[in-house]
Amino acid sequence: MNEERIKTFASEVSELRVNGARGDRERVLLGAGVTLLVAGVALAVVGGLRASSANGLGNQIALLATGSFIGFALVGAGAALFVRYSIARFLRYWLVRLVHEHRTETDRIVHAIESLGRPEVGRPDADPATMSDAR
């Protein structure tokens, strides 16, 4: 490895953006999504209830705008965050499982192919000489 490669490596490492070891960003955003979802639903319900008991159309619209509509917006944002990060987790898990299953399946096939070449031990017509040759 030449000096140039080491220098390039050291320079590129120094330009990396370091996030620090504080928590898992994905988990934080997933939690934020759930919080926004719950807060949004609560705000929408409270806004709706207060609007229904308010006098006058103007007051009702104002309460709906500050309560329910903002609540719905929060629900939308929270749901988007939740779906984005929970799907990422699920897909990652699914990919690992798929790779694991492929690996197991391939092992099974290879084992079956290898066992085809071996004579069955204890079979009446199995010739011991042939058995040792087969190995």
């Binding site: 490895m1 490669r5 080491i6 220098k7 490596f9 050291a10 320079s11 590129e12 490492v13 120094s14 330009e15 990396l16 953006r17 370091v18 996030n19 620090g20 070891a21 504080r22 898992d24 790779v99 492929h102 690996r103 391939t106 092992d107 096939i109 290879v110």
Partner: protein, 244 residues
């Protein structure tokens, strides 16, 4: 960022300083690990099961964030940098077990290494030069090759894109001792070219035959570290069997 490098010839290429790490549920498995790997050095990380060897490799590769301490690469603090970013720069990991995709051919497995920006033809040339047997198997499904050939492929993929640091986790797993010996000859050759190697291994004698420096872990702490020549049977027995 200024892009100014903190690296000089005396700076370790890879350094773990007071690293603590815990799994979900808060179970701490590393209790302040200190470890350095210099340029072209092979460092063997040894210890009994549960000592924290694989966790140390996971922290060093960026796969796991430490709960305390620092990970430094070429003198620069990279704690918290993603494994993919470190891999793209040249910190490559060959994971425990067979680190290949069994349902892809040898060539397709090598193609995966093109994420670093290297062309497939360059990668194939380097891989087949180092491991000629892979050239004969280039169209074969990786899962149908022998365990030794699969490890060759994993190693070749790690090496084909000009790494600076190579992290090897249990290269010998499930392999015959003669194959393990052949693989470690390649590891020694790789280090001679200037690549820094941190290796976790259960074949203690084999890995110590190529390692310049040995670190013994026990229960998540460094029990002993020094030049490999200083590690005699008694020291190893103490670490593995827990005798005084």
């Amino acid at each position: 960022m200024t892009g100014v490098s903190a690296y000089d010839d005396h700076t370790p290429i890879l350094e773990l300083r007071s690293v603590r790490a815990a799994y979900d549920g808060g179970i701490e498995v590393l209790h302040g690990i200190d470890l350095q790997v210099h340029r072209g050095q092979v460092v063997a990380l040894l210890g009994p099961n549960g000592a924290g060897k694989t966790t140390t490799i996971r922290v060093a590769s960026g796969l796991m964030r430490p709960t305390g301490g620092f990970l430094k690469v070429a003198g620069h603090d990279v704690t918290g940098v993603s494994a993919s970013s470190l891999a793209r720069l040249g910190v490559r990991t060959v994971p425990e077990g067979r680190g290949v995709f069994p349902n892809l051919t040898v060539r397709e497995n090598l193609r995966i290494a093109t994420f670093t920006g290297c062309g497939l033809s360059d990668i194939e040339e380097r891989a087949y030069t180092r491991f000629p047997r892979l050239a004969e198997r280039r169209g074969q499904l990786a899962g149908t090759m022998s365990g030794g050939e699969q490890q060759m492929l994993a190693l070749a993929r790690g090496l084909a894109t000009d790494p600076v640091v190579l992290l090897l986790d249990e290269l010998s797993m499930g392999l015959a001792p003669i194959v393990v010996g052949q693989l470690y000859e390649q590891v020694a050759a790789i280090a001679a070219e200037g690549v820094s190697v941190l290796v976790v291994e259960q074949f203690v004698r084999t890995v110590m035959s190529v390692a310049d420096w040995t670190v013994l872990l026990a229960q998540g702490t460094v029990r002993n570290a020094g030049p490999t020549a200083d590690f005699d049977d008694e020291v190893l027995a103490n670490a593995y069997l827990g005798s005084s």
